[in-house]
Assembly symmetry: none
Homo-oligomer: 219 residues x 4
DNA sequence: TATGAATGAGGTTTCATTCAT
DNA sequence: GATGAATGAAACCTCATTCAT
């Protein structure tokens, strides 16, 4: 019959253009105030009702936008989630790095790791809560990106725990120790409220004490 | 057990189901094989992809039904979730009761509580995993029902922990101890696999050791 | 309809069920009256305004349905297009087969091929018009299915044209002849109307005469 | 040329553009380089994916513009289509005029008409392909403008065909002859590629031969 | 001249739920 | 007990278009 098709589906352009990040100040939009607002709005909603039930409309409405406008800033709802979670994970990485830098003794390292993690979790940003609960809603590709960041956090903990074991402060498998500790900390998301009269620092101390034998000096 | 909820639950409930077997025509459909199949199917799906993304169609399909037929057994998708979670919570209650009954010493009590909780979590049933992650998707009314069951679990833990503290095995606030411990245990859902070469019993032992000073007897 | 099948999608389940086309009468729905109505409605709209501008809502409304209901019958808008086009292509195949069977002489074959093609094109069904104009909107995979059907049509024409050339009725490259002829016929879609006083049969005769030297007998 | 329209054109026009260069500030923007670039970009896109699927954004991107900027040059997406199609139609008119001027004999006229039409269709410009496929997407008012141009083309063909009939080279109704011929030629869009080893000139010759009886001496 | 930001209408698709049979 | 058909609300996303700058 003679119908062919010289169109080759989706991809159009031959010349295409891929034009010049140099025109506009590079990434001008990537940290525009509006974009940040949207991310914050999304983080809060994701935290409060979960990613699947947080609608694009709601996210937009919270910053006074129409739902369609969101897609000027993000390609996909899932992209927003990924970005929120990356932000959160980087906050954890940062908290870890700071803890390791500032601490002098193995015990101090643990204490600061505990406190830093809790602060990230219960601070002003909502992202960190999201990172714990929405993992499942990431596409495999996004998940892989997150895993790398998570591994960074883990290895900082392992480093500190190795020292603690060497110092005789704790005993047992480092990995299991980390898993137990982070479980305790992360679970605080389910119950901790600063209004309860227990400060983050106090909580960190109490939790550390559960794991670390109180040394002779303190006994 | 320590699940709270800072979640601002939207609008939910419609009619609110008549829940208990005893209300409706007794023993007619409430534990029919089909119904149990559906609950199991739902539990698995809820665990694997989460409640919001588990569709009624999928739940039905897994037992060879049409989606419409589900509503012969359940008034609402949320009713299914509630029932799954109640089942799970009762499993935790049961595990706790058994532990307290069988154990002789305070240390044994803790060990059995740890092991029982982990077994419930990683056993053959999928419900227990659901109870930890889908709290948010319960309507307020359902949530209240769950809270009561959770409180039962909590009080068993507290009982055991009081004894442990009295025995000098652990020190610190009982509530915080429980929260830390359950956090460690629940978090295992994120990483534990029986294929890893570590048995549930072993894991329980290791975790207990993290919290309980190895006593003189064992030293 | 049973489940089984070509669903490809995400796929959760482990056990899955893959249940028995034998329960329900196989393909019961595949030619339900409603489904056929939808296909007819789609064909008409595709023909009238083109696939991209024919909305699912419009297709549904034309048979008194809501847009969502369409997806009970078809997985995708594109699936509808594919099915419409396959129907059309099969009509062309059928027309060709009939022509070749009924005709005695080479000249008769051409005449019947012309007439059959034109009848398919301008008959009561709208599908055949669609097949000529919406090729571009098929996904590559669907396109491949169509190509096979198209090739069947082409080879019937080539068969007839070979004979015609052998008989000295026409001369030239068979493929180019086919392409020229089908071009003439297909283009009639742009201008032919039965109300114009020219019957399909007449038109076929005139067109054949353009291509075939009037034989000695007729001279 | 023979494009009609049984298409029931829905609602379209809004304000209806002021089209011709002479209306607006003369020679200011109407043939600016940018404008021409945009038209070329649009033509290519319209040809490759069709008018409805060619987005304003894509058209703009191909020339390194933002989508909003297009509306400085054109009032409406449909205006772009109209202009592209007018350009194309004028190319066909021009091809026809040239053919009639240069040819000496009736046969030569046909040959040049065929070749000119094919050249326009498969030359470097993408517009001519668009004119054949996007008729349906023109608003009624625009369509009327196009019809006039098309009629010019048609009458040139009719003129040549009258002579050909008078010369005994072809026989039959002039209008039907034109429709058959243009069908053959236009359909080449579906299958012809210059890479196939057949030049445009050759193709024109072959096609003419299909319609014109080769006289004994080639007389 | 052109951009960057946003709109708002509308597109396809999903899904819990209903109900006659 | 269960199905098949359908609903209707709402989800994500697209896109021509506007407009202040």
């Amino acid at each position: 019959m003679g119908l062919s098709a010289r169109d080759g589906g989706k991809a159009f352009g031959r010349g295409e253009a891929s034009r010049l990040a140099s025109y506009t100040s590079p990434m001008k939009m990537d940290d525009s105030a509006r974009r940040q607002e949207l991310l914050a709005s999304a983080a809060r909603l994701f935290r409060d009702v979960g990613y699947p039930r947080a609608t694009v409309r709601d996210i937009a409405k919270a910053v006074g936008m129409q739902s369609g406008s969101i897609f000027y800033y993000f390609k996909t709802k899932e992209d927003i989630l990924l970005e929120v979670m990356e932000t959160a994970m980087r906050a954890f990485v940062l908290a870890g790095q700071r803890a390791l830098e500032q601490a002098k003794t193995p015990r101090e390292k643990l204490r600061l790791l505990f406190a830093g993690h809790l602060e990230a979790l219960h601070g002003t940003r909502d992202e960190t809560a999201v990172v714990l609960s929405e993992w499942r809603n990431l596409a495999p590709k996004s998940r892989r990106r997150m895993v790398k960041l998570r591994d960074q956090v883990d290895s900082m903990w392992d480093e500190a725990l190795h020292e603690a074991v060497a110092a005789g402060m704790v005993q047992g498998d480092v990995r299991l120790l980390r898993l137990a500790m982070l479980g305790s900390l992360n679970w605080s998301l389910q119950w901790y409220s600063p209004k309860g009269g227990l400060s983050i620092q106090d909580l960190a101390d109490r939790f550390v004490d559960f794991y670390v034998d109180v040394g002779p000096a303190k006994r």
